[in-house]
């Protein structure tokens, strides 16, 4: 049975995470997503920080940033930067020099053969190279266009450069999270804005395709990532709207005032500097779960206090409960705590450092990753699979992480219908290839 989006072709001009997540979801769901890339223009933060990182850089730094395969840059580092490579599955890649008249002609032919286009470049970028909405509509009048600027295409912030972390600061998230007893400089970057923007983007494209099926018309969707992120902060916005209250950060405690609700230290193999520290999250959401926690702890005397039978009493003494529970958890294994607490109906789980997920029984049972070969024979590794399970149209990795220009032959020949001679000319004139210009660092 065909996948839900089979037969839909999507042009992918996305960068970094938000846009690339949108097209990853569409690709997972069966669309033919074609990344359109340019060997002469290095777009930072999409195929790596640099095209050719030094061996020293690749050996230093956090795994998520510079942990290249086997800690080597490899023959074509842009095909396997860990920060971005999980966003390449199920996609096609073609190269074309869009900063040329011929490149734009090739691109127009691709647009005419496509259903949707997704991009999240800085506002004005497409217009600057002459492929803005007018150009796109000219090539295909019922095209669904999704643009995902940080703050929108109008207003004073429209040209602000931003990653997810910046627009979350603007939307209030950064002041609403983190340690309540430390100043905001102790807050680490998160990218939940990329997550929700990507998911909403995929939802929007599918919705607009439905509208096109019914009306015959395409349209230009604008997803301002900052606005899209607001929903994650709904309680804070509603509190201000209802009550004029500006909420403050409460660390790991419950926004709904449930108690106890926190992280607690578990038996550790090391500490935060070596990745060996262990933590168990515990959330008591009602009075029955409090009884469950008491039972799991062996019903110690302090926990039998009548004041603690109701959430109000527990919330008033949250600090004291945290100290007591920490004493109990700190000598116990985190997975054993999860099983014990869950068997008593208490929400609880280890805080998994990323390296530990591969051994988790849930991850294994659900087969959340799968071994695929990287391009250039760099090696075989476990990659994330599509994460939504469909009973009749199961998703999977149909194509391993795509290398720059890997599908040039398919796209130029089969999608665009160019002849051998024309293709030879495109190679000669720098449209087609698999390597960034040698002078790009």
């Amino acid at each position: 049975m065909p996948l839900p989006l089979s037969g839909i072709r999507v042009i992918d001009l996305t960068v970094v995470w938000a846009g690339t997540f949108a097209t990853t979801l569409l690709a997972d769901l069966g669309a033919e997503v074609i990344k359109v890339e340019n060997m002469h223009v290095w777009q930072p933060m999409t195929r790596g920080g640099q095209a050719r990182p030094s061996p020293a850089l690749v050996k230093a730094g956090a795994g998520w940033a510079t942990g290249y395969p086997n800690s080597e840059p490899g023959p074509r580092p842009w095909n396997y930067c860990p920060t971005f490579v999980q966003q390449y599955r199920n996609k096609h890649s073609m190269t074309v020099d869009l900063v040329s008249d011929e490149g734009r002609e090739i691109f127009a032919r691709l647009v005419s053969e496509s259903d949707a286009l997704v991009e999240n470049n800085a506002t004005g970028t497409l217009e600057k190279i002459g492929i803005g909405p007018d150009f796109l509509r000219e090539a295909r009048d019922d095209l669904v266009m999704l643009r995902m600027p940080a703050y929108g295409s109008d207003g004073p912030y429209r040209y602000a450069r931003a990653l997810g972390v910046h627009l979350e600061s603007v939307m209030g998230h950064t002041l609403l999270r983190g340690y309540p007893d430390l100043d905001p400089s102790y807050i680490t970057s998160i990218f939940s804005g990329d997550y929700v923007a990507g998911a909403h983007g995929a939802f929007a494209v599918m919705s607009a395709l439905r509208h096109r099926r019914r009306s015959g018309e395409g349209q230009l969707i604008e997803l301002a990532q900052a606005e899209c992120a607001g929903g994650m902060l709904a309680q804070a916005f509603m509190d201000f709207s209802f009550n004029g209250v500006v909420q403050e950060r409460i660390g790991n405690r419950s926004v709904d005032g449930f108690a106890p609700y926190n992280l607690y230290p578990a038996l550790s193999d090391g500490d935060g500097s070596d990745g060996g520290d262990r933590w168990i999250s515990i959330s008591v959401l009602d009075d029955d779960q409090w009884l469950g926690l008491r039972e799991a702890m062996g019903d110690p005397d302090w926990a039998r206090d009548a004041d603690l039978r109701h959430n109000e009493g527990r919330l008033a003494r949250h600090d004291e409960l945290d100290e007591r529970i920490s004493v109990w958890t700190s000598t116990r294994n985190d997975y054993e705590l999860m099983h014990l607490l869950q068997s008593h109906g208490v929400p609880a789980a280890p805080v998994l450092e990323a390296a530990r997920i591969y051994d988790d029984p849930h991850v294994q049972h659900r087969q959340l990753n799968e071994v695929h070969e990287l391009y250039d024979g760099v090696g075989a590794f476990r990659f994330n699979k599509p994460f939504i399970r469909f009973s009749e149209t199961p998703l999977g990795i149909r194509k391993p992480p795509v290398a720059l220009g890997e599908d040039n032959d398919y796209v130029y020949r089969e999608v665009l219908g160019y002849s051998d001679d024309e293709i030879a000319g495109f190679v000669e004139r720098g449209h087609i290839g698999m390597d960034y210009d040698p002078d790009i660092p």
Partner: protein
Amino acid sequence: MNPGPLDGVTVLDLTEHIAGPYCTKLFADFGADVIKVERPDGDPSRSVGPWHQGIQGPERSGTFFYFNTNKRSLVLDIERPEAVTVIERLLARADIVVESQPAGRLDSLGLGWERVSSLRDDLPMVSITPFGQDSPYRDFKISDLVLYGFAGEMYSIGVQDREPVKMYGTASLVECGAAAATGAMAALTAAELQGVGQHVDFSMADAQFNGVDRRHAATIGFEFAGRRSLRAPGPAAGMLAGVYPCADGYIEFSGAAIRIPRLNEMLGRPDWLQDEKWWQPGVGLIADLVDEFNGLFLPWALERTKREIWEAAREAKVLCGPLFSVDELFEDTHFSDRGFWSTAEHDELGEVKLLGRPLTMPASPWSIRRPPPRLGEHTDEVLSELGFEDSEIAELRASGATS
């Protein structure tokens, strides 16, 4: 105004709390008729704040308010045998079912996928659960904290000598709701185009493990190179990277790949920055220089407001964001002039200002057509649409199946 892109779609909504309701909110706000089946005591999100004017009540919850706009509420106790005929008629009418009951609960009531698929072979059903339908953790319970800690990238958020620290409120559940909406929309597409009914098993843990909020990069970084992604030793202080104090608050420069020419413009080309030592490749990796740079940058920041700094950064194309608070956003003219905010007129609470559209889709727009429903507000209306006579509705009410 044109109808939304999901005009004509009927959603049978058996979701509760945050993740499922956010998924069906997207359907509702983009034009679908979402019939929310509520237990007699209401969606549990009616029982949490923030409370309107601090007064508790099932129609006064800010959480329920935001996550349930444009839906209709039908009270039904699905554990009562009398409820079965109501559900069957809803299934006959629906284009998609979205539910977030504990895994196995609908099956045990005879309302699970087996039953649904036996009644309709063209009806998709999306089940949103913490760990999916078949996990060894299938029956485990979660909260936002438990989910994000276990499957999201929480471990590396914060500083090394402290505990990891989570996102705000229920952010990870909202991420899951948005991701579930993509699955639901794809299933609806397959049903409309190919006549396929199917069960979509959406595990919130899987959506965190394999999503995009840095966990995907931390896991593959380990797989590729055996390297871990740890919390920071202390506050970030790169060149520029981190949250810095300024005259009236804080300003964020994290994630900025260093570009000295742009920083030079932002800072107004100060004499000290013209020294060629700042312009050498890899300067951001030389610890002494980074420290010196931050020492010189900080006084500049402390003399300026976050808006002034952001304006200078925008003009120089430097990655930057001020740490705004919610009250500042409500007053910010960029967002209000763009038409971001929305309002809903509520019987009990009056006019309520709330977060607006997540995106604009001009030919088939997002809209608030109705406020969140009062508990059971549409029970009679929906039941009569389903063909129940007044006397039958009275019987259902007498049985306790509805109220």
